[in-house]
Symmetry: D2
Subunit: 438 residues, 4 copies
């Protein structure tokens, strides 16, 4: 008999916008079609293992606040199995199609790498069974190369080559498991790939180590035939004072340096974007423009606090602009929308986990509906197209094709006494137009 961890909450169902049931969806109907695809196909929701099933509610000044029933077992592997039961119970309640995990989320570290890897694989087998039984899919797997003290000075960028090798051993194991579980992607987040102080750091060498490491991962991916996408997730700092994968532009610079721009794409998180000084939609749009957009970690940071609060999204306006940007760029390929979000440490109860996900799913669905209307109406995109229409005139188009020199253009301005006049950018008009959708 299966134990139940969520107080008997059954499946959360769509009940329409008049519903006042906090455990219903008012907007999310997985099979509702928009722009030719179902909501489920557009949004590809994933629930993450770490924040949702592993986090204990600590913060830098406080200890555990959560006392989860699945934490309690003297045998760590049995606790890991209980956790998997809790996870799949929540997936069923929510009706989400995907999940994501780090190796250390799902299974305890053993005495050796071999033992740790074996623990991970044991739970991997349990996952395979549960996925088979439920239809759940894996959006991505990843290796935790940041929590253990061996990684305190970096994994791939560690001064100690043995740590680099150890990281390789962890990644190989999770990459292979991800392949076996038919994961859509494999993610690398370099929380320790950076420095605390330049005084003890050789940045150039560390970047080369990191470049070689990612190339090894890509080579191994091809060797084992994994067809998913390798993703890097940028973050500017925290835990490390400076992280090399600062933002989309930094990651792209790195990929170009090491010839990886056709092999690796980017997983973008709202909270990481704003910590780097960028809006969420900026990072999405830039990755699209550079051809390296991959996936999304959906959460929200607090603009007035300078750390990664990883809250569940709650701003309809912001999520709409992010999804509008996503749709404009063609939506997800192998990527999806992973809730890399944690409930507040005062939200003690397992049902708080349900509330949080239900609210976030519904918010994204509501935002998707609005964003789809923006796409269909074309009012915004037509405005933008018209604004640049001068560039479609042949003499101007040829400039970008490289057919004009600095001197050609200078001559043209001087000879014709050109005095181009500025044209209103209509920002407030456009902001009003967006607000008309709410």
């Amino acid at each position: 008999m299966t134990k139940h961890y969520f107080n008997g909450i059954s499946t959360v169902a769509y009940q329409g916008i008049d519903s006042t049931d906090p455990l219903s969806f008012r907007w999310y109907r997985h099979d509702k079609k928009l722009l030719g695809k179902t909501m489920a196909e557009h949004l590809k929701f994933a629930v993450c293992y770490w924040h949702t099933f592993c986090w204990t509610g600590t913060d830098p000044f406080g200890g555990d606040t959560f006392i989860r029933p699945w934490f309690n077992d003297t045998d760590p592997m049995r606790a890991a199995r209980n956790k998997a039961d809790a996870a799949f119970e929540l997936y069923r309640i929510l009706g989400v199609p995907y999940f994501t995990f780090h190796d250390r989320d799902i299974a305890p570290e053993g005495d050796t790498l071999a033992e740790s890897n074996a623990n991970v694989r044991q739970i991997g087998e349990l996952f395979a069974d549960k996925m088979q039984a439920t239809g759940m899919k894996l959006l991505w797997g990843t290796a935790n190369l940041f929590s253990h003290r061996r990684y305190m000075a970096g994994a791939a960028t560690n001064p100690d080559p043995q740590v680099f090798a150890y990281a390789a051993g962890q990644v190989k194991n999770v990459l292979e498991l991800t392949h076996e579980l038919k994961g859509s992607n494999y993610v690398l987040w370099g929380g320790r790939e950076g420095y605390e102080t330049l005084l003890n750091t050789d940045m150039k060498r560390e970047l080369q180590q990191l470049g070689r490491f990612i190339n090894m991962v890509v080579e191994h991916k091809h060797k084992i035939g994994f067809k998913g996408t390798v993703l890097i997730e940028p973050k500017p700092c925290e835990p490390t004072r400076h992280q090399y994968d600062f933002d989309v532009a930094s990651v792209y610079a790195f990929l170009k340096s090491f010839g990886l721009e056709d092999e690796v794409k980017i997983n973008i998180e709202q909270n990481h974007a704003i910590l780097a000084g960028h809006s969420f939609e900026h990072e999405i749009a830039l990755a699209q423009a550079l051809g390296v957009f991959g996936s999304i970690d959906m959460n929200r940071g607090d603009y007035l606090c300078g750390w990664d609060t990883d809250q569940f999204p709650d701003s309809l306006g912001e999520v709409t602009m992010a999804l509008y940007t996503l749709l404009k760029g063609g939506g997800f390929d192998t990527g999806g929308l992973n809730f890399d979000a944690k409930i507040r440490r005062q939200s003690l109860d397992p049902e708080d986990l349900v509330y949080a996900h239900v609210g976030a799913i519904d918010l994204c669905a509501h935002a998707l509906i609005i964003a789809a209307r923006m796409i269909e109406d074309k009012l915004l995109s037509d405005f933008v197209a018209a604004r640049y229409s001068g560039w479609h005139q042949p003499e101007n188009a040829s400039i970008l094709e490289g057919k004009a020199t600095l001197a050609d253009l200078s001559d043209k301005v001087i000879n014709a006494k050109l005095d181009p006049q500025p044209v209103s950018g209509r920002q407030e008009f456009l902001e009003n137009l967006v607000n008309r959708y709410f």
Copy 2:
């Protein structure tokens, strides 16, 4: 007879560290040798035209506070000549070897581009004479593509191709003048190359416009035989909400995208670095690591205010770490140290301009002396080298040479049951070591 603008202040001289004369140098002796070069050769000081001779003391809530004698003339070209006299008077007083300018700093805008360009060239001829007479050199020239309302929506990235052409006409003129004046570099700062709102912006198109523009500049440079370096100066925002040249990594990503990484280098400013969330020395070290370090705009921002305060540097500690980083990377090639700094708007008097530069020059000289000792002592660099020494063992060096796979390293860890132990990073020890130099 030459008019005097600086109240009869004569040349500022080195008087040694016991001097209490506020118009003396206590540390800067231009011909003092350190690490095989004179201070002047190491530091290559430049005074900028705009903040020092053009700024009127406005801020977003207040009007002019400075009433410079060289502002007063009914004929704008005569005012421009007076300004040049004032500038070369200050250069003489300070004994600096270089200056820098935008076209609009040195000469008034005319009714047409042709007239504006001609105005610039007239003052350029005056400069040639004064440079001949005094030995002053031009560190770099640049075109102001941001102040006039025609550029409000971008220069190279403007939706209007005529504005792109207009910008080309300005750059051609200043690039050629810079070449004639034997400038060491030509700088591009894209204060309007970005966006105010994504709602009216086609980011991908704008990046392509910018890429073509910079390529045109590089092509023209080669055509006219200019041997100086083309530099891009990153800044994350202000005036524009988001600027494409956000930081060193963003510029490098851009250069790689458009095949410019061997043609263009980077001019790094302290205040721009910290607005982007990076330390000054981070940006210098990263540019060095990527092979694109060019030049420095020396100033300081206020870490607690979120805009470009462009203050004169006053922190011996910070400037020392910046110069230590500079020296570690081999110092300047064509670049130099430009004081892109403005006195406070309450510092009304021309002598405040002198105080500010004297203090900044002396601070840099003091910092250079300390940084040179750090280089000579090798205590810091030896520590770093030792920290990574494991990577020099043949089996580890071969990893970076691409001779090991993920599987090889995984096997090695598993077979040898490796359990690498963390080693102290000794940050506080190193910080103490640095403080020993003060």
Copy 3:
């Protein structure tokens, strides 16, 4: 015959939520009743003179972009009259009930204070006529004590007592004019009351100067019989590096220090709040809790830029929470909702001014409707009340009444072996509840 400045735009009318006319209201119906008051009574919209009619579109790196027809006149007083015509034309178009101004917005500075004051009074007479004719009201007047170079080092806090006196002369004039125009409030914004560097500042003395100055204003208010409220508007910095009126708490500390807490209330601006590290609703709620809430400057800052962007509000979520907080505290007394907001410098056309205000008014009206429903439903307030209900038990209520000592409570815990258990704060549940209203 009156000249028209807004391209023949006539009155903006309510057309309902299906309207696609960008010059209509979809939500704002001035006489629609909510919670017993009309929308107009709740919101008390005011249009400000400075950003809307005086601003030329400059920024720290660019010159004027706006070329308003009412700027063009060789006689500055005639230009001032034209500006007043333009202003009242826009008020009529928008149908707003209030306006606000600084003395220097409405009339040019003369050669002496007497002349400047007389200029202000002349336009004041014109205002009186126009107000009589149209029914427009003055929400508040204020003196510009920050733009002129005489105030660069402070007005009340200036090291020069003559500047203090000069400021007194300006304030007396505008306070009296405000009284004559039956203004509801008089505002003090101390943009220069602070310091650039502590090196030249006697903070304690400056605070005393400021305390005496505000007391003089209050004394004069009573002397002339002005019944409106004196308001202070906090801002942490910009233009000055540190401003004494940093935030609501700082102003309250100041008021308490000088016995002014019953005489002066606070005018809160969103952009100033976030620059100080607080949410808009925090500042409103804190001022309410301290009994000093006065009025609102409605705008929005960019959370990712560190300066006062003063944009028109565009976030329905944020404005709703601000208005919900306002309503919870009982709404405005003499205060109102002033759009201290400026269109972007690329929004060149007079009609952009109309779009901006129409959008902002409609957004506030939409937010008000939602906020009123939140108030009526009481779901949020009931949750909060229940959370603290333990404090209503007599033994606990008596604690706050001062009837228990530290020892009493210690004894109680120890004797009863109390071990209070944490209860979920339900943050995500509440955030979902709020989102149900959108």
Copy 4:
């Protein structure tokens, strides 16, 4: 026989500025006199228990990195005694006169409050013996009202009155112990006194709870005859999203509201100051100006990271300005200089604790020597005095005495046609003057 925890490091001694021994002082000579007091009397160094002896090296993404020998004991009270041995060993090595602690730092939590309090008192007795034997003094004690999950929603501001009572029981115990150990001060840091979301918070009620709580502490202090100072330590956020004790001004506003301004003083920390947007010396100077300056937590934050890094100070410039401000205001009364600083989590070894404190002590001593020279030279203070000298003229002095009205001053300006001219603030001159001391 005493176990040794610091690898046989003996006392750190003054060896003069030429010393290259990393375990020597180059500047700190405890009995060297400056301005009539010894360095030890001026600086009153304290080492804190929590960061130095309790911290395990965790961060939000990583587990323990420190494995201290004094952590290892199956009996928690024996571990607590070992920790005390380690602490007093380090105090002896460093030669510092003071220490500071929270109740939970020194002794483990028991099953009940009574047991927890008793544990604290047992270690308190051990402290009494060790203090007797060594001459060590207690700068302040404090109760940890933030780590345990019972305090997750506040201690004094908790919605549950039982938690308020529990906090009272903890504070009573530590306040009495502090009294018995002849502590100079008692500190309150309200890390949980604030809110995570206004949605579930009654701010006004919570402020009243806090006001009553602090009054109870003050009443108990007088009842038991404790002569030390009660201190509040401001911090704007972290762990809580908003904390009521945001900064000096907020705390002062709170103290004035509850009649506590003569009973409570403020303990100022550098990292907390900058998180609130203020410089360290601003907070010190403001507290002095308001008459509530108490004590200092000396550390440094990273201006480019938005959380409390609590690093050891390393900037000679910044510490000098802080100590100059301290000295200008008359130095410490009951307060002192507590190193509320933690070594980096990569600084694994016990000797890193020694390096960190040695460096920080020496930096402060160096800064004190410089600051004392600034005081003696009076160049800075004379400049400031001269700048405000106009206010000493009788007619101006009388303004601050309340003898002039707004109308008087207005008349004076108008009648005399006053046109006060701005005077240079000489900021760069003063910054150069400061740099002359380095």
